[in-house]
């Protein structure tokens, strides 16, 4: 008897291999070439600082996003206070703000020559050195930037988890003497652990992959180190090795986290799916809660968006007009296609791993997830390597058959771009979907199978509907990420193809921040549309399911 591979696992392995190819091609450089000189130079001079800054950044951002994200998610799901319904969806908004734009805006606002300090100096007739003012362009400032734009990852995923049918277990906690806070720390939070970890991991991976913000702030991190090895020292291999080291670190952390879960599960064990009634806070506490939700929103969105708007009005992009419709359309189409694909593929991969008896799909999924931690330029090159290779085979084949050279079939179009996005952002969808899938008991699968449904139709008829909220969340996260993505878009896009992000970059890279504000604002605005729609949709799903 032959062991048969199911269509599901074959599909999943193929998809995973394809998506992981760019990351693997980064790894494949690890053993090539002699990079001893570069390494010893880096180790002697800057590596320590890179590592130190990166660790500080990770710890700061990790603590920041998880505390802001979890607190706001918990407040809006479990309690009732003034403005709760507004905060439920508004807390997502900072997501639309690219971190590097935030960095520009805040720097402009807060730096020595900026309006705030300028005003202070004028009003109080201070001079340099007369007063202390926090400097944004430091590690601390970078932590703040990332914290405020990235906490929505944790907020959204944790919120899904809090809302996901844990009513009975919360009640059990209450009968065992836990108050609302105790329930939070001892029941809700541990049960939401995979979600909080997923959200935090995403935020951290995005932080690790960031180049724009940290280099603008002059904060040397592992990623700026990769760029330095690659561009300044001209050592591509060493750059790849540095990337690989970064990824190894990420794998290590994620693996340790998985292992520490042991055999614990996080699904609902109770048939009581309805959430307990929200606890209505007394006014004073309610205002405090509203304040706690307002601060991240203010700092992560309202203030920077307001500043951008101010700039855009004062002296925005001279090209504003019909061209922007095209840019917005390009961005939107790319983001929408990628979001849909990413969600579908993530479901496929997560579901295959759920059903698999072997560890292989889980390992593959972790590798697929790594794309998010790889700096955009590196992944762009990582995408180009396999893609152009395939392209060349295709071209050769074509030429052998038809005698003409078709040029590059894949790399020439947006397909390559979407592939690159998937390689980078599938992690986002995957983490979201995986954490929610884990909340569905396996008896749901069994029940459906016993009623005559195969794996695929069980997926379609049982899991997908139950995951609806999370799928929308995943789609939204990917959508917004694609809207903001820059390095890969720059290199891989086809001829004469601009997006809002490239437009903003063109100006910002030329140090024309005010003019870049227009495109940046439109990124935010275009991101807002689906965000409104999806947040409403998610709320509706949640409300209906009680």
């Amino acid at each position: 008897m032959r062991i048969r591979f199911s269509s599901l696992s074959v599909a999943a392995v193929v998809v995973a291999a394809l998506i992981a190819a760019p990351v693997l091609s980064v790894f494949s450089n690890v053993l090539a070439g002699d990079t001893g000189a570069t390494w010893s130079h880096l180790a002697d001079t800057v590596l320590g600082e890179f590592v130190f800054n990166t660790v500080v950044l990770c710890i700061g951002v990790g603590l920041g996003v998880s505390s802001i994200g979890v607190t706001s998610a918990w407040l809006t799901t479990m309690l009732d206070f003034p403005g709760r319904r507004f905060f439920e969806w508004a807390l997502v908004l900072p997501l639309a703000m690219p971190a590097y734009v935030m960095a520009y805006v805040y720097t402009d606002f807060l730096q020595f020559v900026g309006p705030l300090q300028g005003w202070l100096r004028e009003t109080f007739e201070w001079r340099r050195g007369d007063y202390w003012f926090p400097d944004v362009r430091t590690v601390g400032g970078a932590v703040a930037m990332f914290m405020f734009v990235l906490y929505p990852y944790v907020y959204m995923i944790a919120r899904s988890a809090f809302l996901e049918r844990a009513g009975g277990m919360l009640e059990a906690g209450r009968t065992l003497g836990l108050g609302p806070w105790g329930s939070f720390f001892r029941v809700s939070l541990p049960l939401a652990r995979p979600a909080v970890v997923a959200g935090t991991a995403l935020a951290l991976m995005e932080t690790l992959a960031d180049f724009g913000t940290v280099s603008y702030f002059g904060v040397q991190t592992f990623t700026t180190g990769i760029y330095r090895a690659w561009f300044s020292l001209g050592d591509r291999i060493a750059a790849a090795q540095l990337s690989a080291a970064l990824l190894a670190f990420v794998i290590l952390v994620l693996t340790l986290e998985r292992m520490s879960r042991g055999r614990a599960r996080f699904n609902n064990t109770s048939r009581q799916v309805a959430m307990p009634v929200r606890l209505r806070l007394p006014l004073a506490l309610g205002l405090l809660a509203a304040f706690a939700c307002f601060m991240p929103l203010l700092l992560g969105f309202l203030l920077p968006a307001g500043l951008l708007l101010h700039m855009a009005f004062l002296d925005g992009d001279a090209q504003f007009g019909a061209r922007f419709v095209e840019l917005a359309q390009n961005s939107f189409v790319l983001a929408a296609i990628t979001a849909v694909l990413a969600v579908l593929l993530a479901v496929l991969l997560a579901y295959a791993a759920r059903l698999a008896r072997s560890r292989l799909p889980q390992v593959l999924n972790r590798i697929v997830g790594l794309g998010y931690a790889v700096p955009g330029s590196v992944i762009a090159v990582g995408v180009l390597i396999p893609l152009t290779r395939v392209d060349r085979w295709l071209a050769q084949g074509w030429e052998a058959l038809w005698g003409t050279n078709p040029g590059l079939l894949l790399t020439g179009g947006i397909a390559a771009l979407i592939y690159a996005y998937l390689a980078r952002f599938l992690a986002v969808a995957l983490q979201t979907v995986e954490s929610s899938l884990g909340k569905i008991t396996s008896s749901m699968d069994d029940a459906s199978r016993s009623l005559g449904f195969g794996k695929w139709s069980t997926l379609r008829r049982v899991h997908m509907p139950m995951l609806r909220g999370s799928l929308l969340t995943a789609g939204l996260l990917v959508f917004v990420d694609v809207m903001k993505e820059l390095p890969a878009t720059l290199v891989i896009r086809p001829f004469n193809f601009d997006t809002l992000a490239t437009q903003a970059h063109t100006l910002a890279a030329d140090e024309r921040l005010a003019e870049a504000s227009t495109a940046a604002l439109i990124i935010v605005a275009v991101g807002l549309l689906p965000m409104f729609w999806i947040s409403r949709q998610i709320l509706r799903v949640r409300r209906r399911e009680g």
């Binding site: 009975g168 277990m169 009640e171 059990a172 906690g173 209450r174 009968t175 065992l176 003497g177 836990l178 108050g179 609302p180 105790g182 001892r186 029941v187 541990p190 049960l191 652990r193 055999r263 614990a264 599960r265 996080f266 699904n267 609902n268 064990t269 109770s270 048939r271 009581q272 307990p276 009634v277």
Partner: protein, 369 residues
């Protein structure tokens, strides 16, 4: 003062009233039991007591303190209750030992571990503390839920079908031990169960619920022998109703003869019935009809259920009415056979038949088994 006092509580889900004007009192250290058909509101009553549901009317007092009214609710965690949920609601992220020790967070680790081990042993799961809930069988999970609720020594225990997934032997042992614990610690408890024997064995007082109301709150003996209405008579134990005519205070004429009651006839409490000549329905329990080969009275076997020690025969009388009889299991008769029976009635229970519907709400599944 009662330890637990529910007075005229109403509870609604949306517009549907699920608990209606329900009152009950329980003294400290007593074990009450709620019995009733599926969906009658038993779990809901427990949830009201625990503080999970907001009352639509009435109030609940614990130790004299008002804990629930339609406007005010003392949070569940401040009621010192322990609850076994019908669906267990174990924590999937915690091992069995951690589940059981969950409510003991104020104790030192040593004390907690000792208590957890003690409870694991009690529920027959010694040494299995390191497993996770999903690695346990249904009945094992149920026992963990029980242990978890007992661990913090609550002053009020709410047990929602805590033994439903256990085998008879384990169920009897555990219910016995839980009763001992409750009595030894002067805990008050409410048990919900579908197993009447269990209710009889464990509870001091039993309430029969139907459609959100308590029909009778009484001792097991009285429920069986002096049911307050036709619903209770029907629900508790087995039996059949036979048409009869009242002869006098102590006697009723039925198809099988004249029943002579030691006490004056027991009628439905709030019925006018029981005057001479009035037609009544007489409840015949399976043990009221004794199998006797020598008896001239004969009935045809229409159904039989082997029950181990005895066989429960469903018999058709000459007049067509059906009655039940419990016969030691070596009297094995075939279906269709006509066997001898004899009346051996101790308590005569009658219900006036005109007003039957009012006396005893009809029950959807009341058809005779």
């Amino acid at each position: 003062m009662s330890h637990l006092d529910l007075s005229r509580i109403d509870l609604a889900f949306g517009s549907q009233l699920v608990v209606r004007q329900l009152s009950l009192q329980l003294e400290k250290g007593r074990i009450g039991c709620l019995l009733g058909p599926s969906g009658c509101g038993k779990t809901t009553v427990l949830r009201c007591i625990a503080g999970f549901e907001r009352l639509a009317a009435g109030e609940i007092r614990l130790d004299g303190e008002v804990v629930s009214t339609p406007r005010h609710m003392l949070p569940p965690e401040r009621r010192r209750i322990g609850m076994v949920f019908q669906d267990y609601a174990l924590f999937p992220h915690l091992s069995v030992a951690d589940n059981i020790g969950f409510g003991l967070r104020r104790d030192s680790a040593a004390v907690r571990n000792a208590r957890v081990d003690e409870l694991l042993a009690l529920v027959g799961l010694a040494g299995q503390g390191r497993k996770y809930p999903h690695e346990m069988s249904g009945g094992q999970q149920q026992r963990v839920a029980l242990a978890r609720a007992l661990a913090p020594k609550p002053s009020l225990l709410l047990l929602d079908e805590p033994f439903s997934n256990l085998d008879v032997e384990l169920r009897e042992r555990l219910s016995y031990e839980v009763r001992e614990i409750i009595k030894a610690t002067d805990t008050t408890a409410i048990l919900v169960t579908h197993d009447q024997h269990e209710a009889f064995a464990v509870a001091d007082e039993i309430g029969i619920m139907h459609e959100g109301r308590i029909q009778q709150w009484d001792t097991p003996y009285n429920l069986y022998h002096r049911p307050a209405n036709r619903f209770v008579a029907d629900f508790i134990g087995q039996g059949a109703f036979l048409r009869g005519k009242v002869l006098d205070d102590h006697r009723v004429q039925i198809e099988l003869g004249v029943l002579d009651s030691a006490q004056p006839l027991v009628c439905c409490a709030d019925c006018a019935g029981c005057v001479h000549g009035s037609p009544v329905d007489v409840l015949l329990r399976p043990d009221d009809l004794v199998h006797d080969d020598a008896s001239p009275l004969r009935a045809e076997v229409v159904h039989k259920a082997f029950r181990g020690a005895d066989i429960l025969y469903t018999l058709r009388l000459a007049g067509g009415a059906r009655v039940l009889s419990l016969v030691p299991s070596h009297h094995n008769h075939a279906i269709g056979e006509r066997i001898g029976i004899r009346l051996d009635v101790d308590h005569v229970v009658t219900f006036s038949d005109e007003r039957a519907d009012e006396c005893a709400p009809t029950h959807p599944a009341a058809a005779l088994a």
